[in-house]
Amino acid sequence: MERSVNMERSYNKRQEAKPHIAEEWVGKIYTFICIAFLVITIFSMVYFVASKGLSTFIVNGVNAFDLITGVKWNPDIDIPQFGALPFIFGSFSTSILAAIIAAPLGFCAAVFIVELAPKFGRRFLQPVIELLAGIPSVVYGFVGLSVIVPLFRDLFPGQGIGIAAGALVLSVMILPTITTIATDALSELPAGLKEGSYALGATRWQTIYRVALPTTMPQQMTGIVLGIARAFGEALAVQMVIGNAPHIPHSLFESTSTLTSAITLSMGNTAMGSVQNNVLWSLALILMLMTFVFVFIIRFLEGRKKL
């Protein structure tokens, strides 16, 4: 009698376990589908851009070396010239300048949030800075065009447009990225390190400058590189304030162009399959390869974490 009750119990248990097994499988399959979808998307995207971008060299016979080093960009004349160096130069100069402006600001904001006023900083300042990331880029571009460009026009020689205006707009856009990562890095800093520094008689600034900054340097750099990567890929806001002349400028206030703005300006107006269109895909390919480089730099920095 007792045995049969026992058997029934164990049978019931197995019955109860079944839904869990089913759930397990549903979860596994769902995750697998999502991952497969992601991987397929990424690979097909890379393949698509690469095949389009390389056809400039293979089908249209444009010299790849000339494309990267040429300084003349005249795609619509009888003998078209495709020299993308001004775009590459513009992209690098604006995004690096933007990082130079934004990095100290971001680090100081992070120090304020973590070390100086944690309560106010965490509750108000951080959300406000993160809000900057949610503002659409066209809004940044329009503000840049309406505020920064006229200001620079009055203050400096030239028409206000150019690398300086683009970099300033971008620096505000990448500020949240840098600040958020810097804040996380600083708050992960073990209390013992700081306390040890205080115990040795260091002031608050000495602790921040000599202990917090060097220890979190790899993470800070990660934030900056992520910021540069974001700035590198930003198209619309930059396009509105940079002027888009395909020339290497002589000053920070002269019209120039970036890879992204060159693509967005002409992509819709050129017919698919024409050399004018293919060469834009080549620019996109350069842009993508640069993004890969940034990702590798970030991976490298992650490996150098000191904590």
Partner: protein, 298 residues
């Protein structure tokens, strides 16, 4: 949070899948059910023509509930490519198909000229002149003349505000106002939209640019071209040469719904109503005609 995200993702997927499904269905139905006038039309291309296409499409759909028309921008090149590849029923373009596509591809398309758009050179209000000759314009846009005093204005540096070299508006302006292709000069500004060009010309001292007629107003100086003002009458009688057709291309002869829509745009109701209101010139008003090679006939 997670739930919202999942919901948003599911929604996006559903919408995009539904859109894909629709397209297949429409391709079938537009062929078979021609008599009851149903189906869906995708009109892609020129942003200059987008507003007219959008307004007329709304009105047409109100009258013919069986037809759904989607109007998208993307540029003349996109419009021509997509209609030639059969992805869209109508390809909107500022330029003749022959100028963008290969000859054999362009030959498969049928041109429907729905309106005329005229363009004028404009300048900042401070430059001190109200007109330029063709030669002066060429000199300015090729960089030979860099100061307004050389063309009779005040002593001020000329700032060119251009459209990108692939733009249909720029192609028209270069072809009919300058008669030559120009390079993007160092220091010149290239902007993507007419709105931005207008804003920059009105704000930048010594700026010169060009705009479609619908954008002209008092914030900028509209320059006479060889002494001729850019007015509807001057364009219509052929004395003002800087104008172009707005084209709606179809691949071969259009199906019933598309044809009805194109006929509706060509009707007097639209031509004398929306076309004029939006700053275009009705094709019926034109006393001169122009072909793809640019030859003008009375």
């Amino acid at each position: 949070m997670k739930k919202i995200l999942t919901l948003a993702m599911a929604l996006t997927l559903t919408v995009s899948l539904a859109a894909c499904g629709n397209k297949d269905k429409d391709n079938n139905s537009s062929g078979s059910e021609s008599s009851s006038l149903s189906g869906s039309i995708l009109a892609v291309g020129s942003t200059a023509l987008q507003q007219l296409a959008d307004t007329t499409a709304q009105k047409f759909m109100d009258k013919n509930s069986g037809v759904s028309i989607q109007v998208q921008g993307g540029g003349s090149g996109t419009g021509l490519t997509q209609v030639a590849d059969g992805q869209a029923q109508i390809g909107n373009s500022d330029v003749f198909a022959e100028e963008k596509l290969d000859a054999d591809k362009a030959a498969t398309l049928v041109d429907h000229q729905v309106a005329v758009v005229a363009m004028a050179a404009v300048s900042n209000k401070d430059v001190g002149i109200d007109g330029l000759t063709k030669q002066q314009l060429v000199d300015i846009f090729t960089g030979k003349v860099t100061n307004w005093k050389e063309v009779g204005g005040k002593d001020e540096k000329i700032q060119i505000i251009n459209r990108p070299s692939s733009s249909g508006t720029r192609a028209t302006f270069e072809k009919f106002a300058l008669g030559t292709k120009t390079e993007d000069l160092a220091g010149s500004i290239q902007e993507d939209s007419s709105g931005t060009v207008k804003k920059l010309v009105s704000e930048t001292p010594g700026a010169i640019g060009y705009l479609a007629m619908s954008y002209l107003d008092d914030s900028i100086t509209t320059l006479k071209y060889d002494g001729v003002e850019a007015t509807v009458d001057n364009v219509a009688n052929g004395s003002y040469p800087v104008w172009a057709y707005e084209h709606m291309y179809t691949k071969g002869e259009p199906d019933a719904a598309t044809k009805a829509f194109l006929d509706y745009i060509a009707s007097d109701e639209v031509q004398n109503g929306d076309v004029v209101e939006l700053g275009y010139i009705p094709t019926s008003k034109m006393q001169v005609k122009r072909d793809a090679a640019g030859n003008v006939t009375k």
